[in-house]
Symmetry: C2
Subunit: 205 residues, 2 copies
């Protein structure tokens, strides 16, 4: 993979590429050209060529890329082989659902455990007391914190994660966190995602 | 609200506007200008002016918009006062987490019930047998279906929803659905969202 500044727009297209490539692989399609891929995905050919070259170098003239190799290069790009460790804070319904979600692993992240301050939720197997969070992060070299606590606790949890040297935060609480520079935050507002669908539906976008 | 073709890019910005406006309101900021809003959100002023005018008409010179009125106009745009009905298919951990998620209501969608074929999950209060889905959709004028079943069942569930005149689908199963024209599908791949954060972290985007 060449060193290259990856745009947010490209990042947003990665899932689309991967979904498409995995669909091809499941259908037994062995090679794919940038031209075909661009056409099928409704993207510009120049753009697709550039982005694939970042991920996987140039394709062969007239043939393109081996589907399986291209997926492998996406995996490398996604750091699937050297997984980043993550923890969840907030073991409510959503937190527990994410804790049981098997697909994260496939995309480069190991979600190790969840933490909560509610003693009824703690099982000391996968769900631990919030008091154990600092040592757990340190001992397991955890880099990502997933926030699934209620809005009113989200900022405190963010601060706690940052104090314990977490590098990236995936925040499900619908709140604009006061952010510390250098810590990457990805906001996931499920309510607004559904609202988005609703507006498309109502406005026939 | 003027009739206007709303771009997907604008749709994607709505959550950002709303988060920001709600933060302002919570801090007691009574008016906001397009200029300030553009600056604070890191967006172009011309763009913000145009988009706010679509949602709320023009602001007053030198003053801008009343924060509370602007939020109200966003609510109208989001159809908060005439809620769209939705159902969940798949009452596993994620489905049940979404069923208990209170914020959907605030953004224009009523999630009424979940459906499953696993008799252990059915409580006949909020979770019903999948056999009851067709009548439930008809009786309650349900327009949105939320798919939280495993990948291998997602296409069948999609087909069932479409047969029963669902207009929009929010799909959490990581699969490219064979789509029926005219039905809006919003794909929500949580694993790839987390992968996105991971790549940003690893590449220092």
């Amino acid at each position: 993979m060449s060193k290259y500044v990856i745009s947010i727009a490209m990042m947003n297209r990665l899932p689309l590429y991967l979904d498409y490539l995995m669909m091809l692989e499941s259908k037994g399609v062995e090679t794919i050209s940038a031209t075909t891929l661009a056409r099928d995905m409704g993207l510009g050919e120049v753009l697709v060529r550039k982005e694939l070259s970042v991920i996987s170098g140039n394709g062969k003239p007239r043939i393109g890329y081996k589907t399986s190799s291209l997926i492998k290069d996406f995996d490398t790009f996604l750091h699937v082989n050297k997984k980043t460790k993550a923890v969840i804070v907030g073991a409510g319904k959503l937190g527990r659902a994410l804790l049981g979600y098997k697909k994260f692993n496939k995309f480069g992240v190991d979600v190790l455990a969840a933490f909560d301050n509610d003693i009824d939720k703690i099982d000391n197997k996968k769900i631990f007391s919030i008091n154990k969070l600092p040592n757990f992060i340190k001992d397991n070299k955890v880099e990502i914190g997933i926030i699934t606590v209620p809005v009113e606790n989200a900022q405190d949890v963010y601060n706690l994660l940052v104090e314990n040297n977490i590098k990236g935060v995936w925040n499900f609480a619908p709140i604009s966190l006061k952010k510390v520079p250098g810590i990457i935050v990805k906001q996931q507002n499920l309510a607004l995602s559904l609202a988005h669908l609703n507006i498309m539906l109502k406005n026939n976008v």
